[in-house]
């Protein structure tokens, strides 16, 4: 077994990981970057639609173009990386010593490192998590699985499709199925409003005359070998199916697009504190978790709706690693907690220092028009014509805003208020 020593190990070869690996290498840190698949890139490799990189490259690129550019940048930067590297475990020895045990084609590696950056992405919520009963025949896919089949392998998974969930992935797959000649019979959404961006509702559903069934849910799958039909019902205010409203939709394929959850299995074993509202770890503004020297970025931290945000978080975590190593730990002594006020469902990071500018990512709980997004304690106030749960808020808080704040204030409140 080889024993190696590094400043940082970055786990997970998607956009956040690539960005973190480029940045740590640029900052002169001895870094190694691990990916368990045989290629770098992660999910954007199978995203053939445009809408990527408007912030980061200031161009509208497809996911595939975006990630190729990022990988080319990584190769040019000379990042050390290993593919087909399966991280078996991470051991916490001390605040500046962790051991990453990795199984690779070249053998088992034991990597000593001061810090670890987790960029392990998300997993898809599956059919067993959304209360669908009945048969379990062929023809049930998650949206991501359907996307891999269609857009990597060129295989159409089915001809008559029903999609559960109107998040962006579900909407985009509805369009891909329609374009490739399948009949998308319905997109079923349990909430009273679509889960995805409005432009995706327009360009993916309305363009192709695909019905969107709001306040409905799939309650049952029927089929012997293959899906034959599904049973849909209306839901009440508590999102429970209403008896007597059931109807059937004949189809051969059911696509589950019921949202993503941060993939944090290894982090949970390290006993990081988890925020139930994001499903990811609690972090400070350096994206360090409750375990010193363990950082997290991208969808493993919080489900982002733009790849640009995942990349930005990868870079932020890399800068956090640099500061951690230079100061033998993050030097901040007092943190201010971000409290979730009215209409705020989640906010990341959870703690800020006020010592430097910070970017806050947040999601609202309900759609509202003509509102102010506010943090009254520091006088932050931003007008918005409309906020929607599907569209993440990204707020930049200047450090000068914190100067008015007295030292004994240890909490600031993010909230949405009507104009």
């Amino acid at each position: 077994m080889k024993i190696l020593n590094y400043d940082t190990v970055i786990i997970g070869g998607g956009p956040a990981g690539i960005a973190a690996a480029i940045r740590t290498t640029e900052l002169g840190l001895k870094s190694v970057f691990l990916e368990n698949r045989d290629v770098l890139g992660g999910i954007p490799l199978q995203c053939v639609h445009p809408g990527f990189g408007l912030h980061y490259f200031r161009e509208d690129l497809t996911g595939t173009e975006f990630i190729t550019r990022l990988i080319d940048k990584l190769e040019k930067t000379g990042v050390e990386y290993i593919v087909k590297a399966y991280v078996h475990s991470v051991e916490y020895k001390d605040f500046d010593k962790k051991i990453v045990n990795v199984i690779t084609p070249r053998g088992v590696l034991k990597i000593n490192t001061k810090t670890v950056v987790f960029t392990t992405g998300a997993r898809e919520r599956h059919i067993f998590e959304i209360g669908v009963v009945g048969d379990r025949p062929d023809g049930i896919y998650t949206a991501g699985e359907a996307q891999t089949l269609m857009d990597i392998y060129g295989i159409l998974p089915g001809k008559e499709v029903v999609i559960v969930g109107s998040g962006d992935v579900g909407l985009i797959m509805a369009r891909r199925f329609a374009l490739e000649g399948a009949k998308v019979k319905a997109v079923v959404e349990i909430l009273p409003y679509p889960g995805g961006l409005m432009r995706n509702v327009m360009q993916c559903l309305i363009d192709f005359n695909i019905p969107l069934l709001l306040q409905h849910t799939v309650v049952k799958v029927v089929g012997r070998k293959r899906v034959e039909r599904i049973v849909v019902a209306k839901v009440d205010k508590d999102l429970k199916p209403i008896k007597g409203t059931e109807f059937e939709i004949p189809c051969d394929t059911l696509v589950i697009s019921a949202g993503l959850r941060p993939y944090i299995d290894l982090l949970e074993k390290l006993e990081v504190v988890v925020d139930p509202s994001t499903g990811g770890p609690v972090v400070n503004e350096y994206l360090e978790t409750s375990v010193p020297g363990v950082f997290v970025a991208g969808n493993a931290l919080v489900i982002n709706d733009l790849v640009d945000y995942a990349v930005e978080q990868g870079e932020l975590a890399a800068e956090g690693v640099k500061i951690f190593i230079e100061n033998n730990g993050i030097p901040t002594k007092t943190w201010r907690k971000i409290r979730k006020g009215k209409s705020i469902r989640l906010a990341v990071p959870h703690m800020v220092s006020g010592e430097r500018d910070v970017i806050l990512y947040a999601r609202v709980s309900i759609p509202e028009k003509n509102v102010f997004v506010e943090i009254p304690e520091i006088g932050f106030k931003m007008f918005s014509f409309g906020v929607r749960p599907a569209e993440m808020l990204r707020l930049r808080l200047g450090k000068e805003m914190f100067s008015k704040l007295s030292d004994n204030v240890n909490e600031i409140t993010l909230e949405v208020k009507p104009r």
């Binding site: 190729t68 060129g154 374009l179 929607r388």
Partner: protein
């Protein structure tokens, strides 16, 4: 008279727009800013979309290459693009920006993924 209902996607306000068209005379209701009026006008007079798909690749490290129209094409051209792509197969290697199909609906169809030769 032609009418259409749209949701404006210019900004997050997501205004519900109603468009009435009679002999090239356009009336737009519901927009709270001029950008919404412009959006509705384009959507009704000349709606365009990017069209994307994948085509088979022989001899590459990936079984398909993703492709897109270089420019957005008129909405009623979408199916012409998809039909033209249905039977296309190309040979690896493929680089991003390589032309996969030339001159269709006023644009070219280009590769958006790199496929290395095996």
């Amino acid at each position: 008279m032609k009418t259409a209902e749209l949701v404006c996607i210019v900004c997050p306000a997501s205004c519900n727009l109603k468009v009435y068209l009679e002999d090239n005379d356009l009336k737009i209701e519901g927009a709270s800013c001029p950008r919404g009026v412009e959006f509705a006008k384009n959507e009704v007079m000349n709606p365009v979309r990017y069209v994307m798909s994948v085509v088979k690749v022989r001899g590459g490290d990936m079984p398909t290459v993703s492709v897109i129209t270089r420019k957005p094409v008129p909405k009623d051209c979408i199916w012409r693009v998809m039909e033209a792509l249905a039977n296309v197969e190309i040979e690896a290697p493929v680089e991003i920006g390589d032309i996969v199909l030339r001159d269709i609906c006023g644009t070219d169809i280009v590769a958006t993924r790199r496929v290395k030769k095996l």
